[in-house]
């Protein structure tokens, strides 16, 4: 792996996939088009998996998470297609604003804030390194945590986002895998935030829909980077 390992990912569980044959290694920096590609792939993935997300939300929530994100990401791709913003930061801020204006529910402001804060942190650089992006994403994830008052372990999207942001310093693949593991790890947890918290013990044994959609977003990122 020619790129430097982000210091804070040192203690994270290593990726089992060490081939590293993604565009990570070669590209070096990522421009606005890359971020548009990411969100376009994410939108397609959310659209495909909407029913599964809704099904998960039906078990411990209110059965709308899939429809919410599908609506929001469709709006995001529409605006990005119509007027592609010039910088990575602008892409993310635009996309985040669009999510806030179209999703509603808990996930709208939270995902919207994630993208907006990450984008703002990137400033107006025309292209960013993965390390820089990882740093910005951590800022975005912190903003989500502040806004919703949740921590990793509360059985929310943060259980996927926190480890993913940390692992992004290592590689896109590592971020994807960390998010997937984080989402799976929500199954035995008892929810402390969001609607699932109303269920108390009965939330145990179900995977969190928001953590699952976060894993989809990270998988889309890894795919965009391939």
């Amino acid at each position: 792996m020619p790129e430097p390992t982000a210091p804070d990912s040192a203690g994270s569980p290593g990726s089992s996939d060490t081939s590293g044959a993604s565009s990570d290694a070669s590209s070096g920096t990522f421009d606005a088009a890359f971020f548009v590609r990411w969100l376009t792939i994410a939108a397609a993935s959310v659209d495909r998996e909407a029913d599964r997300l809704t099904e998960l939300d039906s078990a411990i929530g209110d059965a709308d998470h899939g429809a919410n994100l599908k609506r929001g990401f469709a709006a995001v791709t529409a605006v990005l297609e119509k007027e592609p913003p010039p910088t990575p930061g602008a892409v993310l801020v635009t996309a985040g604003s669009r999510l806030i204006s179209t999703v509603g529910g808990a996930s709208g402001p939270l995902y919207g804030t994630l993208l907006r804060r990450t984008g703002k942190d990137l400033g107006d650089e025309p292209a960013v390194s993965r390390a820089r992006f990882a740093e910005a994403l951590e800022a975005g994830v912190s903003a989500v945590s502040r806004l919703g008052g949740a921590q990793a372990g509360d059985k929310t999207m943060l259980d996927a986002l926190v480890p993913a942001a940390a692992a992004l310093g290592e590689s896109f693949t590592a971020a994807r895998e960390a998010a997937e593991r984080g989402a799976l790890a929500t199954v035995p947890l008892r929810a402390r935030k969001g609607r699932a918290s109303y269920l108390g013990e009965r939330s145990v044994g179900h995977q969190d829909p928001g953590a699952t959609s976060s894993a989809l977003l990270m998988a889309a990122l890894a795919e965009a980077a391939e």
Partner: protein, 328 residues
């Protein structure tokens, strides 16, 4: 389901509402229902809203003496900030706006963002969170108590204060007082089906019920074998009283979740009144009906609100909305 496609359910309902209620202004594009006479000069505007599927809450409570505007989200999904910003701008006469927000993460976040944006636009915004559902313990380990039936009391009583011309701080204080004195407990006899999912949100076998449900089709805290109306009333009222301990008279809302026939709901009210009499709680007023619903869920909730003279007077004050109407 009596729908065209799940995607158009909310817009279709708003168009239908516009046709049935020429006395309201319905902005279908922005999903905001407004009093026709908004902004009311010198008066605070009450703005509420939330996910759809709880009708008549909130749009059915728009009108003189209650809400100035309601924002309709997708089914069980909080509206987006843009809607509340637009509603606030439309109803603000300079006296400010009170956001009535049910305590759900989504509603809280979206209304918070809206408040910030509206204030940027020069509207003075106060907020009251409704969290009356005793089935959820309000602790670090939950998102806090949910807003359910108490919302009706808050919107009616604060709406009356606004109609009287009370200033924003006073309307806000009244709303807060009503919320602090309101507690609810709900029971499901069946799950509900959202348009998107098209099937029940959880499996509830015939002959069982869920105790401590909210209004979003989520399961409750506990499943039990079917209970009689009498047993359910005992359980629900005692759950409320354990938390409320009123020293004076109460308002009682005996609310249907949507699919429970009025015949059964009135019968349930008889049991609720019996328990309250046994517990020596005087009941000042009782409202029975499907007001804060969960689509086609069968079940009921009981909300009690301890009232003083002022709150009772404001409750009795005239109201002219599609779903609540009296006085004048």
């Amino acid at each position: 389901m009596l729908i065209n496609v799940p995607e158009s359910v909310v817009a279709d309902a708003l168009r239908g509402m516009a046709a049935a209620h020429p006395e309201l202004t319905v902005d279908v594009g922005n999903r905001v229902v407004l009093r026709r006479d908004a902004p009311m000069a010198g008066k605070v505007g009450l703005v509420s809203g939330g996910g759809s599927g709880h009708e008549p809450l909130h749009a059915g409570f728009v009108g003189p003496g209650m809400l100035a505007a309601a924002c309709a989200g997708e089914v069980f999904t909080s509206p987006v900030p843009d809607q509340m910003v637009r509603a606030a701008a439309a109803v603000d006469s300079g006296a400010g706006v009170l956001f009535v927000v049910k305590n759900y993460t989504g509603d809280v976040l979206n209304f918070e963002m809206a408040a910030e944006l509206a204030e940027d636009e020069g509207v003075q915004v106060a907020k009251v969170l409704v969290d009356d559902d005793v089935a959820v313990t309000d602790s670090l380990y939950t998102a806090g108590r949910r807003g359910t039936g108490g919302t009706l009391f808050v919107e009616k009583i604060a709406g009356a204060a606004a109609e009287e011309g009370a200033p924003l701080e006073r309307v806000e204080a009244v709303a807060r007082r009503v919320n602090e004195r309101s507690r609810s407990f709900g029971v499901a006899l069946s799950a509900c089906s959202t348009p998107t999912k098209g099937s029940p949100t959880f499996e509830l076998p015939h002959g069982e019920l869920e105790l401590g449900i909210g209004i979003h089709g989520e399961p409750g805290r506990e499943r039990r074998a079917m209970m009689t109306s009498r047993e359910i009333a005992d359980f629900a009222v005692d759950a409320v009283l354990e938390d409320l301990r009123p020293s004076g008279p109460v308002l009682a809302l005996v609310n249907g979740m949507g699919a429970t026939p009025l015949l059964e709901l009135y019968g349930f009210n008889a049991e609720v009144q019996r328990v309250l009499a046994e517990r020596r709680i005087p009941v000042a007023r009782t409202l029975v009906g499907n007001y804060v619903t969960s689509l086609d869920m069968a079940g009921c909730s009981v909300t009690l609100c301890e009232v003083d003279e002022e709150l009772l007077r404001l409750w009795d004050a005239p109201v002219q909305t599609p779903a609540l109407r009296w006085g004048r």
